[in-house]
Symmetry: none
Subunit: 243 residues, 2 copies
Amino acid sequence: MTEAQPLYARVKDHILQNIRSGAWAPGARVPSENELVESFRISRMTANRALRELMVEGFLARVPGVGTFVKEAPARSSLVELRNIADEIEQRGHRYSSRIVAKSEVTANPALAEEFEARALDRLFHILIVHEENGVPVQLEDRYVNAAVAPDFLKQDFVKTTPTAYLLAATPVDELEHTVEAALPTFDQQRLLGIGPLEPCLALHRRSWSRGQVATVATLTYPASRYALYSRHRTNARGTLSQ
Amino acid sequence: MTEAQPLYARVKDHILQNIRSGAWAPGARVPSENELVESFRISRMTANRALRELMVEGFLARVPGVGTFVKEAPARSSLVELRNIADEIEQRGHRYSSRIVAKSEVTANPALAEEFEARALDRLFHILIVHEENGVPVQLEDRYVNAAVAPDFLKQDFVKTTPTAYLLAATPVDELEHTVEAALPTFDQQRLLGIGPLEPCLALHRRSWSRGQVATVATLTYPASRYALYSRHRTNARGTLSQ
DNA sequence: AAGTGGTCTAGACCACCAG
DNA sequence: TGGTGGTCTAGACCACTTT
């Protein structure tokens, strides 16, 4: 079961755990490269890679001649948020319901394996759910889950808990990727969402990472007439840009 | 003037130049680590770092046992950030051009006034631009600008500078609002974007605030076949997600 | 068998910062 | 002066793919 992790990845995990658990608060000093060399019995290059990557990923700040420190949490919150659609709908005072269309364990085809950034994927779960607002379908959720990250996924009762809610609770989300496209619905989508062939849809493709692995890949399809994606947020001091 | 660059950075620059200039097209094979070792007279660790970082940054794909290849740059625009579409396109190594369809000072109708959160709007500028990638229309920009915030807006040469670039430079952006919808194109949009009536489009509606006022309201229309909206970001270390 | 990338080591020199 | 990070080297072993 225990994957043979590279040494630098183990060091990164160790540091991330200490940050996430709160043991190392923002601003706290992190072990130096030489200290990591001693405690993990690794070479300095390996310790350097772990710390450097965590800096690039935004968790650490490094100051030459001084040390490495836990970075302050960024003021800017996620723009495209991970929200539970059931909460969203109920927050509007409407009735949420769902219909589970499919739920199974599947084997990954090459395209899926690439999305999961894995050459050989052991196990993958698939679920297809229609989410409804006041009985009207508003979102089709087509989701694949990495079994290595959430082994108990299929055991959940997705009438009571949405997959998003379960995954949020079960695994830490390190990174999120969203791609939004417009598309006309396939025949199956027309049938499941109860829409016509000429009703354009938003396709929100989302990948989330947990502990360095792709945890889940989901395609959320919204009929344009029933849903729009919205965000509003303050920008940081520099304005925006980020190359 | 010539900064002393680290070796791995010089190797990265060399590869990026070849990609940006088009000398190495997407899918083309990039020199292997050993070849870089020979041609740059560096150690393999240094070559490895250059290639690995370019992979993490999304420019290269590496396949163990096979080689390193130039990645296909997808046509997509940032959801989260305010980015200049001309930069985006040029970063992909493609040619940016634009066509100004309309440019004028207008009086606000009630609906526009409401969008600007203003009871009485003195002056409003309007501009309609088609943005092109390699000569193909990829975005229709329909923008209104609050003259009180950017009085010199209409004086700009929008062939040289996009409205986004000018507004970013001229006014601080305090707050951003995005709404994304899918829609079939209107007749005018079909004509300006050169698409058929059944090609769905993404409509990104954006408002930005500057010093407490709505500075600009824009509707950006993307043909689905040519562009997607994209965002990727890390969640903060403590895994606290919004909502 | 030869070549590829993935990782790791045990050194090294440097600029920088602190006491 | 000793510790820090930033970089670099010249090897090495491995799993993998192609020939």
